[in-house]
Every structure is written in C-alpha cells, then in structure tokens.
Subunit: 391 residues, 2 copies
Amino acid sequence: MNNFNFYSPTYFAFGKDAENQVGALVRRFDGSNVLLHYGGGSVVRSGLLERVKASLDREGIEYVSLGGVKPNPRSGLVYDGIDLARREGVNFVLALGGGSTIDSAKAIAAGAVYDGDFWDFYAGKPIEKALPVGTVLTIAAAGSEGSPDSVITNERGMYKRGASGDAIRPRFSVLNPALTQTLPPYQTACGITDILAHLYERYLTNTKEVEVTDRLIEALMLTMIHEGPRVIENPDNYEARANIMWAGMMAHNNACGVGRSQDWNSHNIEHELSALYDCAHGAGLAVTMPAVFRYVMHHDVMRFAQVAVRVWGCPMDFFHPEATALAGIEALRRFITDLGMPRNFYELGAHEADIPKLVDMLCNGDGRPGFITGFVTLNAEDCANIYHMMV
Amino acid sequence: MNNFNFYSPTYFAFGKDAENQVGALVRRFDGSNVLLHYGGGSVVRSGLLERVKASLDREGIEYVSLGGVKPNPRSGLVYDGIDLARREGVNFVLALGGGSTIDSAKAIAAGAVYDGDFWDFYAGKPIEKALPVGTVLTIAAAGSEGSPDSVITNERGMYKRGASGDAIRPRFSVLNPALTQTLPPYQTACGITDILAHLYERYLTNTKEVEVTDRLIEALMLTMIHEGPRVIENPDNYEARANIMWAGMMAHNNACGVGRSQDWNSHNIEHELSALYDCAHGAGLAVTMPAVFRYVMHHDVMRFAQVAVRVWGCPMDFFHPEATALAGIEALRRFITDLGMPRNFYELGAHEADIPKLVDMLCNGDGRPGFITGFVTLNAEDCANIYHMMV
C-alpha cells in the first residue's frame, strides 16, 4: 500500500428534511453573508430554494443569489460569481444542486479570494485558500458534496479540466434522499453511472494487494447494482435513493481510494465529449467505460477478472481469465444500458468525424503532453482507437 | 435508513515513517505544549518514543510525559493525567499506543477542562469540550484513532463504561503499519477479533434495507478474513498489516454504521469480563460473540444467514435458513480460535461461580436499569444464560 494522507472533515446532515438545518450549519461554520448558487427550474419549482432561504432567515444570515448553472458548468458564470461574491462581500458559498452547481460554487469560492484568473487552478496551480463552501445535494452522482474536486468547462475552447484542494472541500453537505425522488429516470441513471465510474477509476490500480480498498469499492458497486434497478422501477423508493446517495458520497470522498494509484482515463476521455456535445457526463461515461476497459484489459486481466467474479457474479474461467474479464465488462455495459444509458456515439449525439478534434483536445489541450496517464498511458493513437470503438 | 449526522474530521497520516510528521501535525492543530501519554515498554524499546520526541523537538514543541497506561485503562491514571495536564498547562494530548492509551488520553483531555469529576462523562454526561487529542497508533484493533469513543475501567468497583463526543475525536492520527509488526501474535489476533466485533455490532441492526452499510461492513469483514491468517503466519507482512490497519479505522469511525440501529451487547457483556479478570478485550470478545449470536439469532435469522453467505461463503439452505445462520456463527468462531483466541471461560481465565456478580455489574452497575439494550434487549436472566453458554 502506498503512503497517503486522508482528511475528510465535511459535516454531513443526512435524511428527510435535512435541508432545514442549513441556516444552523452555515452559522456553525462561521458564515453570515452567503452566495446562494443554483441551476434553475427544479430547485425553484420544488420549493427547495424557498425552504433554504427560510432556514437562513431564521438564523439572520444574509444572502445573494446566483442561478443559471448549466450541466457541464462553464467558466463564464464562474467569473460572474466571483465578481458578485467580491462586490457583496460574501463569506460563504452555498450550492443547491448537483455536481455542476457544486463544482461551479467551488470555483467561485477559490476565485473570489485569488488575485489572478481562477482558471489558473484548473491549469494546475494548487488551490491554497477559498471561501468556505456548503452544499444541499439534489442528485446522487458526482460525489462533489464530499470531495476536494471541481470540474469546469472553459468557454474559450470548450474543454473540461479539473482542480482539487482541501480548501474547496465542503464544510458541510446536506443530503436528503427525498430531494432526488423527482429526478427524471435518465438523470437518475446518469448519476448511477457516474458513481460506478468513480468506483472503476479507483479500482483500476497498479498498486498490488490493497485488499481493503478493493473490497470497499466492490461493496459500493454491489450497492449500485442492487439499488439502481429498484430506483429506476420506482423513483419514489426512499430507501433505494438513500442507499445510492450515501454510496455516491463514499465513492468519491476517497476513503475507498487511498493508498493506491488510480486511473481516471475514462473520465478524461469522456470530458471531451461532454464539453463538445454538452451531453450528460454520466451518459458519456456509459459509452466511454466499456470501450476503455476492453482496450486496456490486457494490461492486467486478473484485475478485470476479479471485479467480474466478485461484483458481477461471473463464473471464473480458470483456463481463460480474459473471458471472465470480458464477461465482467459486458455485464457492466448491459447494466448501464438497461438503466437507459446510451450505447454509442450515435445515441450520445457524438460524431465520428470529430474524433481527430476530440483526440487533439484530450491529448494536447491546455498544455497536455500528447498523451494521458492512468492505469495505462494512452497516446493520441490509443485515444483515437478508443473513440472509434465507441462509434 | 434513519436520519443521521456524520462528521469525521480526523487527519490521517498513513504509511511508513509517518510518525516523523507528528511535530508538524501537532503544530498544524495549534498544539505547543503536549502531554505525551503511553503505556510502557514497547513504545520505549522500539524507539518510537524517541522518534516522536525528536519530531516535537524539531518543531520547538514542549512536552511532558505520562507513561504507565495498562490494558483496560484505569480511572486512577486518568486522574493523575488530569492533574499533570493542569499543572503543566498543556494544550494538546498525544497518545502513543493502542486503544487503551488513546482512550486514557481522551479521558484526560475531557477531564482537564472540566470542573467536576471526569467520570461524569462515563456515567452519561455529554462531553462538550476537551483538549485536542492526537494519536500515534501501535496496534490495529480498537478504532479509537478515528472514533469519538473512549472506554475506561472505574477502579471503584472495577466496571468498564464508555463515553463519546466529537470533542474527543482525534485531530490527527498517525498510522504506520510497520509499528505493528513487532506485536506478539496473540495481541495481533486480539486486534483482529476486536475489529470483527466492531463490524458485527453494526451489522446487527433492526433497521431495514441499509444495503450500502451492510455491504461496507461485509467488505471490511472480508478484508479481515483475507489478511488475518496472512499476518499471523508472517508478522512482517507489511501489506497485510496495512490492510488491517485501515480496515480497523474504517470499522469504527462509523462511516459503515450510519443510518441504522446498532447492537453493542457483545461489547457490553465482554466489558465486565475484561474489567473483572483483566483479560484482553479482543480475547473476551472471541468468547462472547459466538454465544451472544447463538442466543439472539432467532430474532432475525435472515440477518445471520446473509452474513454467513456473503462473508463466510456458507451455502444458503433455503429450506433451513437457521442452519445457514448457525454455520456463519460457527465459521466466525472457528476463524478467531484458529487465530489463537480462547474458546471459553476456562481459556479466558474466567470463573463460572462469578456469573451472578458479572450479571449484576452488567445489568445494574452504575445505575443501569436491570437490562441492556441493542439488537435484542437482554435482561439479567438472558445475560446469565449467555455467560453460561461461554463456560
């Protein structure tokens, strides 16, 4: 096991009506003037925004609002948020929404106390300080509610990049599974796929004998396999929603990913798709993951055989472990397409003719060295091959 | 799933040589005058105490030392520590050792800033403030390095009681698996048994459909089953030690126990044994758990069948689920006795004639109401029956 540090100081308030604690939580973490950040329609229509405002009012906390976050959140709104935060002297950023809103809030929080361009952080500069961030989560997917990560799409060039730092880890996150019951099935399925992807990115490691984190990852995968179809069949199943919501957080706060190298090439390859076509990140991952895994599985067949046997219930073929490995990848593909996820470029709205452009953005964009690294290092030709497998 | 809050802000530094970060970590968490608390021989003999002192010296941090913690830590040394902490004006308590030392340090930290008798907290008073606590762990077992819990034996009556509070959660914990390589096999096995007990206490729940925490608990149990025999066979197996050490923390910081009722009756029943006979807590649990589980299994046969199938690999007997449940309990019993743990009162050094006294301390000691509650409520007769099953 590799040496590591682990620090996850987010306070989680989980359960029915948990959003009514928001005012007290902002107060607990020393906020008094809040930037309320959200997307649009659903947060307003569901009454969540009003309930949160009422909770802040009860504590005498001031706030300004900035809505309009889109899926695959853009740099433009981040600049607006930074300006607003500075103008109003806010000392806390509160995100109401899913990963996009939380990631946008994190970018604003880091940018508001930084003299340069916030994009510096997404080009690799470490984030050393930020306004405190809190979240009220409305979709189980990104895990951003418990992570130090943020992904933003740069509108100058339409590429997605990530930044990370303990300073943007949420001080608190409110997780009420009932808030996710109104999600359309497609978005629910995107979330489940994203959670599975966070687990696979950690599972695909070159570190040997990290049984504890292997087992924890498998536990969360098994949870998604059990609960995913139940929640698609009955969107009001609170218990299934609750299990998925906690699994989504645990999948990405890195408790199950410590002490080992990780992959993240499926995410990198997908990011160019959602940046260019504005498709849902989870949908992009559904098409990306099986192709990537088939492409890289010979790097460590036993890793893929292990997940096939332990998680997908495939029988081990001791003469042909690669058959077992493939069966596991196929089981994953079938599972997510059964949830309603797209199977290929066509269903995703992507175009084969764009592959050279996708590869160039992926391997060379924003100063990248012509390849991407992870479980396997992939050069431009590898990436082109993988995109072609997805057509 | 029940509503819950989860807050685990401990900073973990994990891996080889991690103890050399102690000085910087004390500094990070605002300590400048430290009470160094430890047991005895091994911390000195191994050179750990000197390395930690050197690390503190490098940061210019002052310290006073208080050794002498015994397994099943006593109230007497806690009073000594409180006096010393006040006299020396320490502002940080640093434990070097296992669960006993850490629990003693937590009690000192809470007592040093409280006007009354520290035992009030162990009789039920909430802990609201405490000096900050840090730990350097030397045995994977108690999970105290990541928990808000402490268990102390009251020397006036020799009974063990627990206290809990976020204020005594360690600010940081240093986990170097290499420090555990010198442990005698018996102590290693006691630690593994204690970790398994922490998992069973959470597994035995009356809350339905908490799949995510069921699966996480099972993951950690499977890790112990894989790594336990490897580390008994080869005490120098760093990878096995590392997996057990992280599993031990994860088993008890409650990430795998949220949103559900828990049991803790095996711990309660065992505590009277280690308090009276000064046996190792893990050894006491090895004798206690199989008896308790056989006694209560009819309360929810499917719960015991599930762990038997998923964790112990027992085939499910669909006509007779209780046979599967029993097979799982027997597999647990065989596993821990194969590690070298005792099987009965005799091997533990306990005496059948003491059962009335054990039952009285357990059910009536320190203001208890004549019964204990958990997965199943157990009255004095039940507890006597269970102790008799252990003879």
